[in-house]
């Protein structure tokens, strides 16, 4: 049975490997669908993807549409847009979510343009609520929440009049739920006819490195800012992270200064993290930095300036020079643990 009005997720895969953000979005879609009393659907496009499709059902997908075609093994915009647009037209979801990845942000605007519907980029939160306009009330509207204006404001965007409502969502901001092996969902194969002219792009080379830094998965993150002062002193950050069994993070200013590579950057233009413990050393706490870490369960701030904004979101604050504080921290931890 076709499920109209569903909450749909575009599942991004590469070489049959599903992107984490897609599972995060399925988890969120489940929550939204329960709220608006509809189903969760997902679309997986690729080549040889049956296994990947089945692995997604336990996250709460009622109907998973697959489009399996040799030419679709890797993402390219034109054929993927064709396929997705067809599936969306056929199943008429009320919401479609995409990861705000290079791929998601490449395809979602094309689909929005083809369907002439609204699209909000790089959301950090999604909610359901009512919307009033010109004496009319729209119920169960998707609130698409995102930072704007260089992160200085948070805007709530709605597109109540046209369906589907679409958004790209930042990686790491939605919690991935635990799979439920007993969840009953269905994989449905969609047929497509694609002609050679549907493939104007050819990928001639591709170089991809697995990220060496796993900030998203880290439970403890020790981050250094420009207040660390030098690349040599940044060793202290590495030492504390190592002692606590955590990862090394950084502010953009520290990355720009060359203390550590860009992979370590936390914040609006870096990685969004939500560890059990975040230790900010020599970081002032700009809005853009906070956007990537203020969901951390615990925050310790170490800063010489008692007025630094980072103290306003911290659970523990230490006013002092990190060159003194960090060695004391390591010593204390070694003594206790």
């Amino acid at each position: 049975m076709a499920a109209k009005n569903s909450v749909m997720v575009f599942v991004q895969q590469d070489d049959g490997k599903v992107a984490e953000v897609s599972i995060e979005l399925i988890s969120k879609a489940r929550e939204l669908a329960n709220r608006v009393k509809s189903k969760v659907t997902a679309v997986l496009v690729g080549s040889g993807i049956r296994k990947a499709a089945e692995s997604l059902i336990p996250y709460g997908v009622d109907h998973l549409y697959t489009v399996d075609h040799k030419g679709l093994a890797h993402y390219t915009p034109v054929p993927y847009t064709r396929v997705l647009t067809d599936v969306i037209k056929k199943y008429a979801p009320q919401i479609v979510l995409y990861g705000a990845t290079t791929t998601g942000r490449d395809i979602a605007p094309r689909i929005a343009s083809a369907l002439r519907v609204g699209l909000t980029a790089d959301c950090t939160d999604l909610q359901i609520g009512d919307y009033q306009s010109k004496g009319q009330t729209y119920q169960n509207v998707l609130y698409q929440i995102r930072p704007a204006f260089g992160g200085n404001i948070i805007a709530t965007i709605v597109s109540p009049e046209r369906k589907p409502q679409m958004a790209t969502v930042r990686e790491g901001v939605m919690k991935m739920s635990d799979p439920d092996p007993s969840f009953k969902g269905e994989v449905i194969e969609e047929k497509v006819e694609l002609k050679p002219e549907d493939f104007p792009s050819e990928i001639v080379e591709r170089v991809k490195q697995e990220k060496l830094v796993n900030l998203k998965g880290a439970q403890i993150i020790v981050s250094g800012g420009i207040g660390v002062g030098s690349k040599e002193t940044f060793q202290l950050i590495h030492q504390l992270a190592h002692a606590l069994g955590g990862e090394v993070g950084a502010s953009r200013a520290a990355v720009d200064a060359g203390y550590v590579s860009k992979d370590h950057q936390v914040g609006q233009t870096g990685t969004t993290v939500r560890p059990r413990l975040y230790i900010a050393c020599g970081i002032s706490g700009s809005v853009q930095h906070r956007a990537g870490m203020d969901e951390s369960a615990r925050i310790i701030a170490i800063n010489t300036d008692p007025e630094a904004p980072i103290f306003q979101i911290a659970n523990y604050g230490i006013v002092g020079d990190l060159k003194e504080v960090i060695p004391r921290f390591i010593k204390a931890f070694r003594a206790k643990a």
Binding site: T102, R110, A155, S201, P309
Partner: protein
């Protein structure tokens, strides 16, 4: 044969340098207090187009912007850097356009120019950071796109193919496409050339001229020199044959429901003294509640 290149640019408030006096008392951003600048990545797109023109003889660089009359500044700047033709798409009925309505107006303007081979724009504008207008315009034109381009690796004007390197998570991709194609350019390469002093002298008093439907399409093929006193073309909604229902507010499905200032959540903070003893006490607490350990 030369290529027709179209660059889409935007004038934006400089959100990267928000200083104290750009904030209002209630903590909100005072947009009008921010200087208006050429969207940084659009300058890289313009530079990429100028670079192509240098390698493919008889190519032309056209720059389009949609915005209020004050946006002529970015067009003048484009002329100073070497653009051949610039047009301002401006009409009250374009106001409050979201990315969908913007891409529709840009598509109409591009079709007004007629023949084109490569459309270029910056990857995203710093006021919205959406990166949507490029792909939306490509879809409306029914052409291919390569986004997040850091470098054009090869351009074969005879075979009409282009190969570009684009940044993807953790690496890059080289993609070949047939022309026409739309490229969105990042700030990783094509550092913008400075404005030319001679061109600044030529164009500093350039005026905008309304051109309603009488755009001489033959100019693209005639290669005639543009006159200095008529250098900025102004197109309104009729000039580009746009449907008012698809423009501005009526053409924009997204609405801003509300705007919130970023507020710091006021959690209880415990200040720990910078002594071995106090830090030891904190570590002890964190180990006890399994945060550490």
């Amino acid at each position: 044969m030369g290529l027709n290149l179209i660059v889409l640019v935007k004038q934006v408030p400089d959100t990267q340098n928000i200083t104290g006096n750009a904030m209002k008392e209630d903590g909100t951003v005072n947009r009008s207090a921010l200087p208006a600048i050429f969207n940084p990545e659009d300058l890289h797109a313009l530079e990429a187009a100028l670079t192509i023109r240098e390698s493919v003889p008889d190519s032309r660089v056209h720059v389009l912007t949609m915005g209020p009359p004050s946006a002529v500044q970015v067009l003048k700047d484009s002329l100073y850097r070497g653009a051949d033709f610039v047009a301002l798409i401006s009409d009250r009925r374009f106001a409050a356009a979201d990315t969908l309505a913007t891409s529709y107006a840009l598509k109409c303007a591009i079709e007004k120019i007629g023949a084109y081979d490569i459309v270029l724009c910056g990857r995203q504008a710093i006021d919205g950071d959406t990166a949507q207008v490029g792909p939306q315009t490509a879809e409306k034109l029914g052409i291919n796109q390569i986004t997040c381009v850091s470098e054009i690796v090869e351009l074969d004007a005879d075979k009409r193919t282009i190969t570009a390197r684009r940044s993807i998570e953790g690496g890059f991709e080289k993609v070949r496409s047939a022309l026409p194609v739309l490229l969105t350019i990042t700030d990783e390469s094509y550092p913008p050339r400075p404005p030319s002093a001679i061109k600044m002298m030529t164009y500093k008093n350039a005026t905008t001229e309304m051109s309603s439907g009488d755009f001489d399409e033959t100019y693209l093929t005639s290669g005639a020199e543009l006159k200095a006193e008529n250098t900025i073309t102004l197109w309104d909604i009729n000039a580009i044959n746009a449907d008012p229902d698809s423009c501005g507010l009526p053409g924009s499905p997204t609405k801003v429901k509300n705007i919130d200032m970023v507020v710091l959540k006021s959690e209880e903070i415990r200040m720990i003294e910078n002594t071995e003893e106090a830090i030891g006490g904190m570590v002890h607490e964190l180990v006890a509640d399994h945060t550490l350990g």
